[in-house]
């Protein structure tokens, strides 16, 4: 038991240590405002990262999620504000487009045997271009337009003292957790990630399983895109969502997933996401120059990888 969740426990310990350190250095960390804020960030980035995690389990990767957030955000804003389409059409539409783009990645990877890195790198470039083109390179958003308050609440509101985004994240976590760890599809996802040839010999529909993973990532990106769009309220197509794919991959790797596939748990990604956001918060609260933001992230992931290696050796 202890051994099975070794990575997760290690991560939890690091997280606790960082939180305690932060609280001592700046008690503001535990203030309600800060907690609201940080859990909102965790919620939004978490939904994004969990989608990436499902793809990484199969031995793939998704680099397109950041650009996709921009494209979907622009489309949503234009649909709602400029075309005055009803939210009941636009919101499902955005999720469907996310899923469809994921499906496209999946088909290219599984049937046409293209490398996931290449496929989604092209996605990263393509969707960024598409977003800028559709929006004529102008920021799109909701400004002060009225009628979207309930939707805005998703990103900025709170239920029972918790930010709504975080609650949504918990729901997605439970769903994906059941999928990965309790369902037949989950077993197949891990089997494909470990050894797709042997999985095929055991009757796993490898092509379908791989495709589904990318569809899930696409839909999760859709949900996150909606939240990010309402959160920022204004979407600059050339910068909105930049580097988000790296947050996603970073959280997944920090959470104990192997990029070779077949490893990692939902608890791991959740802890990975939280740790990343706490580190961001640390940079803000401790007055570290914000230019060092990414450097701190990179440093911690490196330490995590080193620790993991050390523990692995000991266990063997």
């Amino acid at each position: 038991m202890l051994n099975r969740y070794r990575k997760e426990l290690l991560l939890l310990a690091v997280l606790v240590v960082v939180c305690i350190f932060l609280t001592i250095r700046n008690p503001q960390f535990l203030s309600p405002t800060n907690l609201q804020n940080i859990t909102r960030q965790i919620g939004m980035y978490g939904i994004l990262s969990i989608g990436v995690a499902v793809v990484v389990v199969t031995g793939g990767i998704d680099l397109s999620v950041g650009s996709m957030c921009a494209l979907l955000g622009v489309l949503m804003a234009m649909g709602l504000v400029e075309k005055k389409m009803p939210p009941a059409v636009v919101i499902p539409g955005i999720l469907a487009i996310g899923g469809a783009l994921g499906w496209l990645h999946g088909i290219l990877v599984s049937r046409l045997k293209l490398q996931p890195f290449i496929v989604t790198l092209c996605g990263l470039l393509l969707y960024r271009g598409a977003a800028r083109f559709v929006a004529s390179d102008e920021s799109k958003g909701f400004g002060d337009s009225v009628g979207f308050e309930p939707l805005k609440q998703l990103a900025t509101g709170s239920v029972a003292g918790m930010s709504t985004a975080f609650v949504l994240f918990l729901i997605v976590t439970v769903l994906v957790g059941v999928l990965l760890h309790k369902s037949v599809l989950g077993r197949h996802l891990y089997a494909v990630g470990k050894n797709s040839e042997a999985a095929r010999y055991a009757g796993v529909n490898v092509l379908r399983v791989e495709t589904i993973a990318y569809v899930i990532a696409g839909v999760c990106t859709g949900v996150a895109a909606i939240l990010f769009a309402f959160y920022t309220n204004s979407i600059a197509p050339s910068s909105h969502g930049s580097y988000y794919e790296l947050y996603g991959v970073a959280a997944v790797v920090l959470g104990g997933f192997s990029l070779r596939g077949g490893e990692g748990t939902v608890i791991g990604v959740v802890l990975g996401v939280i740790l990343l956001q706490v580190l961001q918060n640390l940079v803000n609260l401790l007055g570290v120059p914000s230019s060092l933001n990414f450097a701190v992230m990179g440093f911690v992931i490196l330490i995590g990888a080193l620790l993991e290696k050390a523990f692995q050796k000991k266990a063997a």
Partner: protein
């Protein structure tokens, strides 16, 4: 025999993996020029002992004396320099290198800083000729069959001119003819004064070449047999703790045709159409030299490879060739030859491997933990898979037990036809009997069983009818009454 000189003396070797004692104060004495058979059931610790001797595994305690000198901590390099060379049970060849590069990996002949390709290939040719292995030194290993790869491993081990050659189930994927070639080489080695430690689950081979045997049971020394005591019965007794007559299956009554293969032409042998049928309740054997196209036909039946032409039907329904999922849905299963890469997922637990093909059968999207565990438990019990828990990864099982997992995952599912490619490769004689019993029971239930095997003994005792393959085609069919080693040999060549 002349007074023999001690070559290696290992004492009190102990090695534990977690809670499992793989070796428990084991000792081993080897003298110069003898050929010692190392015996033991699956998981007895044979491979672990061998890995210690070649420096791949560090023992928890114990000491090793080689040529009268105490040797410190062994590493593969040190062990090689001492003159110990090993053919491992699991192949290690690097796929993208050529035969020659694999054989001389790490000690390539050089001219200055540059690789001397000409003498590399020439040296390799000499070793290959000795094994009468008909491949070019510059062939990439990935283009070779399983057995040819095995021969390359053997060639590598021989190229060292070692004092001690250790062979861990070297013939398990070889057919009679190739195996015989290897045994002849072992004879040669002995006459040159080289010591050989030989592991095999094929009793005949032990009888043929060993000058004495050493046995392990559950990681402990369990007695030695001197040359004079080596009889089939004694050997079996020392492996499984009881004697067991070589069981010949009762003759079965075959019903109507179930699996019908018509004019199948594989991409490897597009000019040899293969046709045969397997009947209800029948075990049809396919044997022949390695590379004779047996596994290719199996892969076509299972839908892995698309054939150049031909048709396969099960109970009259055509299988859509090239579609494994459809084949499995129709109840036709394959246990492939390459168990480590295709037969099991090594990093997955035993339970997950066994239930992988059947988890979805329960219907719902959620796995029934209890159902899945009890399914695995049944197979572990029926096949006597030796493990600490069903949650341990298959990679931590001994070779023979991995094979049982590969088989067990299909036994847990309703089949109409089972295609078994070397089903008892590396399985000990006791467990082999259990697998045969299972096959027999399945045949009695009306299954059609197609058994591809290089093990002549197995073919002779377990099959109702045998097809002998040669160069991609069926060279002949032998009914049970006409089965004999000679008859098979005549057709195979």
């Amino acid at each position: 025999m002349a007074e023999s000189k001690s070559l290696l003396s290992a004492s009190n070797l102990t090695k534990s993996y977690g809670g499992v004692r793989a070796l428990d104060t084991v000792s081993l004495e080897l003298s110069t020029g003898e050929t010692v058979g190392l015996l033991g059931a699956n998981g007895a610790g044979k491979s672990t002992l061998i890995k210690i001797l070649c420096g791949l595994v560090t023992p928890d305690s114990g000491s090793i004396i080689f040529e009268g000198r105490q040797v410190g901590p062994l590493s593969p390099k040190v062990s090689e320099q001492l003159g110990i060379s090993v053919i491992h049970q699991e192949r290690h060849a690097l796929e993208n290198l050529t035969v020659a590069e694999n054989i001389y990996l790490g000690r390539e002949p050089k001219i200055g800083p540059f690789l001397d390709n000409r003498s590399l290939n020439a040296d390799t040719q000499v070793v290959l000729d000795r094994l009468r292995l008909d491949v070019s030194p510059s062939t990439p290993v990935q283009d070779l069959s399983n057995a040819q790869r095995q021969m390359v491993e053997i060639a590598r081990a021989l190229s060292f001119n070692a004092k001690l050659v250790i062979m861990d189930e070297p013939t398990s994927s070889l057919s009679e003819t190739e195996a015989e070639r290897l045994l002849t080489i072992v004879d040669e080695l002995r006459s040159q004064g080289v010591t050989v430690l030989y592991v095999s689950h094929r009793i005949d081979e032990i009888l043929r070449i060993a000058t004495r045997t050493v046995s392990l049971t559950d990681g402990k020394n369990s007695g030695n047999l001197a040359g004079g005591e080596m009889t089939r019965e004694n050997i079996i007794q020392s492996i499984i703790g009881r004697t067991e007559a070589a069981r010949r299956s009762e003759s079965r009554v075959a019903g109507e045709a179930r699996l019908v293969v018509s004019n199948v032409r594989t991409t490897k042998y597009p000019d040899s159409p293969v046709s045969f049928e397997v009947r209800r309740g029948e075990v049809l054997g396919i044997t022949g030299l390695v590379g004779s196209g047996r596994s290719e036909v199996a892969r076509v039946i299972f839908g892995i490879d698309r054939p150049v032409g031909g048709e396969v039907t099960i109970d009259g329904e055509p299988l859509s060739l090239g579609d494994t999922l459809n084949t499995i849905k129709k109840g036709v299963f394959l246990v492939p030859e390459d168990r480590r890469n295709l037969g099991v997922i090594l990093d997955f637990s035993i339970e997950r491997n066994i239930t992988l093909p059947s988890v979805k059968d329960a219907g719902g999207p959620i796995v029934s933990e209890a159902g899945s565990r009890s399914m695995a438990a049944t197979q572990i019990k029926n096949l006597s898979i030796k493990c600490a828990t069903m949650d341990q990864p298959v990679s931590s099982l001994s070779g023979g037990n991995q094979q049982k997992v590969a088989l067990g995952k299909w036994l847990a599912k309703d089949a109409r036809c089972l295609v078994l490619d070397e089903p008892t490769c590396g399985v000990d004689i006791g467990a082999r009997g259990e697998i045969y019993d299972q096959i027999d029971a399945l045949a009695k239930q009306g299954l059609a069983v197609l058994m591809i095997s290089s093990d002549t003994d197995e073919v002779l005792t377990q099959c109702d009818r045998v097809l002998v393959f040669s160069r991609g085609g069926v060279a002949g069919e032998l009914s049970r009454d006409h089965l004999s080693k000679d008859a098979i040999m005549r057709l195979a060549i």
